[in-house]
């Protein structure tokens, strides 16, 4: 039996806690039998290579439900498309550069709304569920609801080109050409923080889902990590030599993939701040995304390449796909699905990537099959459990722990006494001040200002009386202390001028 402390009661308590933890681990292990779904990857036989499999051949082999999920949307007029999936992967929000925005249930093909904004659309983002979404337009960021009605115009977010949403903090973040990173609390409607990056227009922005730190890519090849509570970046990483084109962070917050304009694709360990691996892309990558299971999709030119290099170095990609005569704008993996959505200059296409999605979902957390009632419940619950923006740190485990600067042992009264030798004079000098209301309110200030210039009889009289009173008080005070009233040495000489 481990002995933690000499204090028997504390020891018993700690032992009990230990036992609880042990039980919890065992019980968690037992619940693994509930995870019946298993992720599977493409497997090649003999001479075959997984990256040679085309989508058509995959569609032939997979079940009908999965095959239905592969689709193409031909939207050639409204320019390159960016897209975003809701947190549970049910809904898809697309935004064409030339002002076409649409939100729909992509599996059922049920359209929620379709907007033509007649304005440049830079980025689209769902908020905590599919009911609201934000669109970064030409000048401002707007919030629309599911029906496409404009709810808010966020005039603080000027010239934003990038949007992201922190679901546990209810923070909408935006960055763009101004070089400012802004955090906007969508539950209270307040702008929580705005940080000046001082690094020019932001090239790309993604969140770290593990600790809600924002990663911003800049033109000088740096990636900066931000939290709303610090006006300076938490960390700076020199990821590439050219501008950072795209970046993505793994779900467990361990890996970051950065694609640069210098055609490098680098894998960073952002807990230890170490570069793990480095690859070259044939041309600049436009977009990078990491799936739940750690597959990395890279969009470059008309190509999409899916890699499985988070665990080990790879010589060949996992999958390849090409959309001829187009430029890939955005790729996003669908949560809980083996699907990769790609927005490109000719529309939207969804690509089957076996093994990409998390097969077992936690319905208490994010439920892909939720009903309207459940969605409302979740919304309320998540609002109740909302985290404060101050709680965002590089290491979220420090919340609730003991300050590292504090002594590692609890100080007894004796220790404290030794630490601060009490000085008898100090306590007496400390005076208790009565709580007086401040006299410098704006109204008073204004009044005072008004009064200052006016010189009338009454004011003069009062002034004189006050002066006299002051003098008398001083004399009285001096008398009580036994100080002789000071004789003015010059009185004799200058008295005549009085």
């Amino acid at each position: 039996m481990a002995v933690y402390s000499k204090d028997r009661k504390l020891n018993a308590n700690l032992k009990r806690l230990d036992q609880q933890h042990k039980d919890a681990v065992r019980s968690a292990k037992n619940t693994e039998i509930l995870l019946q779904e298993d992720a599977g990857f493409l497997e090649a036989e003999g001479m075959e290579k997984t990256y040679k499999f085309t989508q058509d051949s995959i569609v032939k082999e997979v079940d009908q439900a999965t095959a239905n999920k592969r689709f193409e949307l031909k939207l050639e007029e409204f320019g390159p498309y960016t897209l975003d999936y809701s947190r549970n992967g049910r809904d898809l929000l697309i935004g064409g550069k030339k002002g076409h925005v649409a939100s729909f249930d992509w599996r059922l093909g049920k359209l929620d709304c379709e907007l033509h904004l007649n304005e440049t659309v830079h980025a689209v983002k769902y908020l905590h569920n599919n009911q609201y979404f934000a669109v970064a337009q030409k000048k401002y960021v707007f919030i629309y609801d599911k029906t496409g009605m404009e709810l808010h115009r966020l005039k603080q977010h000027i010239d934003s080109t990038l949007l992201d949403f922190l679901p546990y903090h209810f923070l909408l973040t935006s960055a763009g050409n101004t070089g400012f990173l802004k955090y906007h609390d969508v539950s209270t409607g307040e702008l929580v923080a705005e940080h000046r990056t001082k690094l020019g227009p932001t090239q790309c922005m993604r969140q770290n889902p593990w600790n809600a730190v924002m990663h911003l890519g800049h033109a000088n090849g740096q990636v900066t990590l931000w939290s709303p509570s610090m006006p300076t970046p938490l960390a700076k990483i020199l990821a590439c030599r050219g501008p950072v084109r795209a970046l993505a962070v793994n779900r467990d917050g361990r890996h970051m993939v950065v694609a640069g304009a210098d055609k490098t694709l680098k894998l960073w360990d952002i807990r230890n701040f170490k570069e793990i691996d480095s690859y070259y892309t044939p041309t600049q990558a436009n977009t990078v995304d990491i799936s739940d299971k750690g597959l990395v999709s890279v969009g470059w030119g008309p190509h999409i390449t899916v890699w499985n290099f988070l665990k080990s170095h790879q010589n060949s990609p996992y999958m390849n796909h090409m959309i001829p005569s187009s430029q890939i704008q955005t790729t996003r993996f669908v949560p809980f699905e083996d699907i990769l959505g790609c927005g490109h200059s000719k529309g939207i296409s969804s690509v089957i990537v076996p093994g990409a999605g998390e097969a077992n979902f936690d319905a208490l957390e994010v439920n892909p099959y939720e009903t309207a009632k459940q969605r409302q419940q979740t919304e309320v619950l998540s609002l109740l459990n909302k985290l404060q923006p101050d709680m965002i740190t590089l290491d979220p485990n420090v919340i609730g722990s003991v300050d590292k600067r504090a002594p590692s042992k609890r100080l007894t009264a004796k220790d404290l006494a030794e630490l601060q030798p009490s000085q008898p004079g100090q306590e007496i000098e400390k005076k208790i001040k009565p709580e007086v209301k401040g006299k410098n309110s704006t109204v008073r200030k204004a009044k005072r200002k008004l009064r200052q210039n006016v010189i009338n009889e009454r004011a003069k009289r009062i002034e004189r009386a006050l002066e006299k009173e002051k003098l008398l008080r001083k004399q009285k005070h001096d008398f009580s202390k036994g100080i002789q009233p000071e004789k003015d040495v010059l009185e004799g000489a200058l008295g005549r001028f009085k």
Binding site: D7, L10, A12, N13, L14, L17, D18, Q20, H21, D23, A24, S27, A28, K49, G221, Q222, S229, M230, T232, P233, L234, A235, K236, I237, L238, A239, R241, G242, D262, K263, T264, F273, K274, I276, D277, S278, Y279, Y280, P282, T305, N315, S316, P317, D362, L364, D390, T393, V398, I399, G400, S401, V402, D403, R405, A406, P407, S408, K409, R410, L411
Partner: protein
């Protein structure tokens, strides 16, 4: 008020019942008009076995006004509760402990039972219910001595009455004493006291009271009242404490319990596994059948087996038994010795002994296996071992030998020569000869090549069927050319000294362009040169020559122009390209193998250059033009971003941050202070003060990390979510953080654990009666 009324009613009812009961039980006792009420006024309770409960209820009412009501009340209510559970509950309450006086009475009671079976005890002021009503009217303020006299008469009558009562009934009497204690109060035993009896106990002849010799001493001054009371309090405290201490165990158990459930669970009793044990006697017909079968097959009974064994041993004669035991003992002894031996051998640490042992083992093995059964892997292992150790005279031992001139000594020279011989043997093996071959002929490489050629030609002549086919022929041809080339290379040395960017030498197949190819070629060359040099070295006859050859300086080559992109990128993989395939020679194979194993980093047999890792499409075809194109583009990029030197900028920034956040040294030396006029060159003492910064530069998190700046400043807004010191019950930070380890939310744990962790401390079932705590 309503309650009281109820009680009174109850009392009346009880009185009626008891009156009836008593009338039935004893005819002697006259009917009493006052009934129970009077009884309570007198303060005597008769506890009868039959109508116990009723009596108790009444006692509550009766004792309303009493001083020690509380004690009694609680005690009695306890007995009522306990009664349901245990029959002895009432007795176990131990009135004696709480009321010392009643204890006395009880003791007297028992005495009486022993002597005459009298059940009732009367006090001087108290009269039983059986006594006549006139006594109750007697005033209490009468003289006590008068009372005593009266009482004797009264007692005698009462006794007689009582004796006539049914003695089989157990009566217990509690007498509640209301009178004050005084010196003259005598416990009434119910027996007449004679003076003789009283004096009988006095043993001494001398009259006790009269002491003629000494003057009458004054009585000791009684203690002051306050002190007396204190003593009393102390005594009372002791008693009380003893009583209270009995609860500590149960209190502690309750405190320790994670959850207290009320009412305590003692409902369903589940079957224990032991309750399913088979019955001793077969019950059903099936059982009987089974039993019979088991008996027949003799499986069932262990006794029978024992018996059988007994018979077996009994069959043996005495001598035979002795012999057997002897044998067994011998075996055991041998085994023991063997073990001991092995242990001893294991303990020996001598190197030479081990070497001898190993050699012997190997010899034995060879004898068993034969030298021809050679596995490639085993071959490799042996080769590697020898290469590293024995065949070279570069080992510590050899060097020291040479240095100290011990090589002139015959023995050591022999040793050295042995080493070299071994090395040679090994090298030959490495070069692809069989052992026997190498011993017999010292042929030239050219000869071998010629022979091989002949062989090839012969084979080609022989070829029919598959071997005669075109592609096989082509492959054969290629192989032949390759072999020839290799032989030539070994013979004349590597003549192709020109720079080879593409690594085309080792692989007749495709060409691989890599930035690292040149380097790889370089490395390969070095390896070959080394091998050659060693071969030359070995051909030197004398030891000195060998040493000389060894010490000649190696040619160094100027480092090749490197790509700054790649030089900066640290974890570059696949720099060394070596393609080992079926048609590479054994030399290459083994060299590659050794190389592979010695180098820790995981190198692949086939590695692809960095340039084309990402575009899988080029991989299969490997067309050179595209690769070249990519290479050129990389150069272009290098040029494109050459202007803004982000790396140095970043480093500079990092340096600045380090300076800013690090500790600072402030020179507080005043100019001219302690400095006399004139240029005295004596060094002055500098006064330097360090100002603590955020973090010293040697403790930064990004200290050894290139291209990373970590902000070390304290985030004050986070500080409010942290404990400023270790919170109370915990002593260290580790303990506290350990306690935080287990989250209780249902998102993080299983349902079972979540419910367990969030269970309230006390669970009480609604509407159920919660029994009070029991003392242990």
């Amino acid at each position: 008020m309503a309650k009281k009324g109820g009680k009174a009613k109850n009392r009346a009812l009880n009185a009626l019942e008891i009156a009836e009961a008593e009338q039935n039980s004893s005819s002697d006792i006259g009917s009493e008009s006052e009934g129970e009420n009077q009884k309570f006024k007198l303060g005597v309770l008769t506890v009868d076995g039959k109508d116990f409960e009723d009596e108790e209820l009444d006692s509550d009412g009766a004792l309303d006004s009493d001083d020690d009501y509380d004690v009694l009340n609680s005690k009695f209510s306890q007995t009522i509760r306990d009664k349901g559970e245990t029959d002895t509950g009432y007795d176990s309450i131990d009135e004696s402990e709480l009321i010392p006086l009643s204890e006395v009475w009880a003791r007297d009671d028992e005495e009486m039972k022993r002597s005459g079976g009298k059940e009732l005890v009367l006090d001087d002021n108290l009269v039983s219910d059986e006594s006549s009503s006139e006594e109750s009217e007697e005033s209490e303020d009468e003289d006590v001595f008068d009372d005593l006299e009266d009482e004797e008469n009264d007692l005698s009558t009462v006794m007689s009455q009582l004796r006539s009562r049914d003695s089989s009934k157990a009566h217990r009497t509690l007498i509640n004493d209301k009178t004050e204690e005084n010196a003259f109060r005598v416990p009434a035993t119910g027996k007449k006291l004679s003076l003789a009896e009283m004096m009988g106990d006095i043993e001494t002849d001398k009259p006790l009271l009269l002491n003629e010799t000494s003057a009458p001493e004054p009585l000791a001054v009684p203690l002051p009242q306050s002190i007396q009371k204190r003593h009393e309090r102390r005594a009372a405290y002791e008693i009380q404490k003893e009583e209270v201490d009995k609860w500590t165990d149960s209190i502690q158990a309750n405190r320790r319990a994670e959850v207290l459930k009320f009412p305590a669970k003692d409902g369903v009793q589940h079957n224990q596994t032991s309750s399913f044990q088979p019955a001793e006697v077969p019950l059903t017909s099936l059982d009987k059948k089974l039993d019979g079968l088991l008996k027949q097959s003799n499986i069932e009974s262990k006794k029978a087996e024992d018996l059988f064994e007994n018979i077996e041993t009994a069959k043996l004669s005495k001598e035979e038994m002795a012999k057997r035991t002897r044998e067994l003992r011998l075996m055991r002894e041998l085994m023991y010795r063997g073990q001991k031996d092995a242990k001893r051998l294991k303990k020996i640490k001598s190197k030479t002994y081990r070497q001898k042992l190993r050699k012997e083992k190997q010899r034995n093995k060879e004898l068993v296996e034969g030298s021809d059964a050679e596995d490639e892997d085993a071959d490799y292992k042996r080769a590697a071992e020898r290469m590293s150790l024995k065949h070279k005279n570069t080992s510590e031992w050899a060097k020291s030998m040479i240095k100290s001139g011990m090589s002139k000594d015959k023995e050591s020279r022999d040793e050295l020569e042995e080493m070299l011989r071994q090395g040679e043997k090994l090298r030959q093996k490495q070069l692809g000869y069989d052992e026997g071959e190498s011993e017999t002929d010292e042929r030239d490489v050219a000869e071998i090549a010629a022979e091989q050629e002949d062989d090839d030609i012969e084979r080609s002549k022989l070829g029919k069927g598959l071997m005669a086919m075109d592609f096989m022929k082509r492959a054969e041809e290629r192989e032949r050319i390759e072999n020839q080339r290799l032989a030539a290379e070994l013979q004349y040395g590597d003549e192709s000294d020109e720079e080879q960017v593409a690594n085309v030498v080792k692989n007749a197949g495709r060409r691989v362009y890599t930035p690292g190819a040149a380097a790889a070629a370089e490395q390969w060359k070095i390896v070959e040169q080394k091998a050659k040099k060693e071969a030359v070295e070995d051909q030197e006859k004398s030891l000195e020559n060998k040493i000389k050859a060894k010490n000649t300086p190696k040619e160094t080559k100027a480092p090749e122009e490197v790509n700054p992109w790649l030089a900066d990128a640290e974890p570059t993989r696949g720099q060394k390209v070596r393609v080992v395939d079926a048609d590479s020679s054994r030399v290459q194979k083994s060299a590659a193998k050794i190389k592979k194993r010695t180098h820790k980093e995981a190198e692949m047999d086939v590695e692809i250059t960095i340039g084309d890792t990402l575009d899988g499409e080029h991989e299969g075809e490997g067309d050179g033009e595209q690769d070249i194109h990519v290479f050129q583009q990389k150069d272009l990029i290098k040029q494109a971003f050459a202007g803004d030197d982000v790396v140095t900028e970043f480093e500079q920034e990092k340096h600045e941050v380090e300076e800013l956040e690090g500790d600072k040294e402030v020179d507080l030396t005043l100019p001219g202070w302690g400095d006399w006029a004139g240029g005295n060159s004596r060094k002055k003492k500098k006064i330097v003060k360090t100002v603590n910064g955020v973090v010293p530069s040697d403790k930064r998190k990004d200290r050894n990390k290139k291209g990373v700046i970590v902000n070390e400043r304290v985030n004050k807004k986070n500080a409010k979510y942290q404990a400023s010191s270790v919170p109370y019950p915990f002593e260290t930070m580790e303990q506290y953080e350990r306690s935080l380890r287990q989250p209780i939310g249902q998102e993080w744990t299983s349902r079972e654990i979540h419910q367990k962790l969030t269970m309230p401390k006390v669970i009480a079932k609604h509407g159920s009666v919660i029994a009070p705590m029991k003392k242990e």
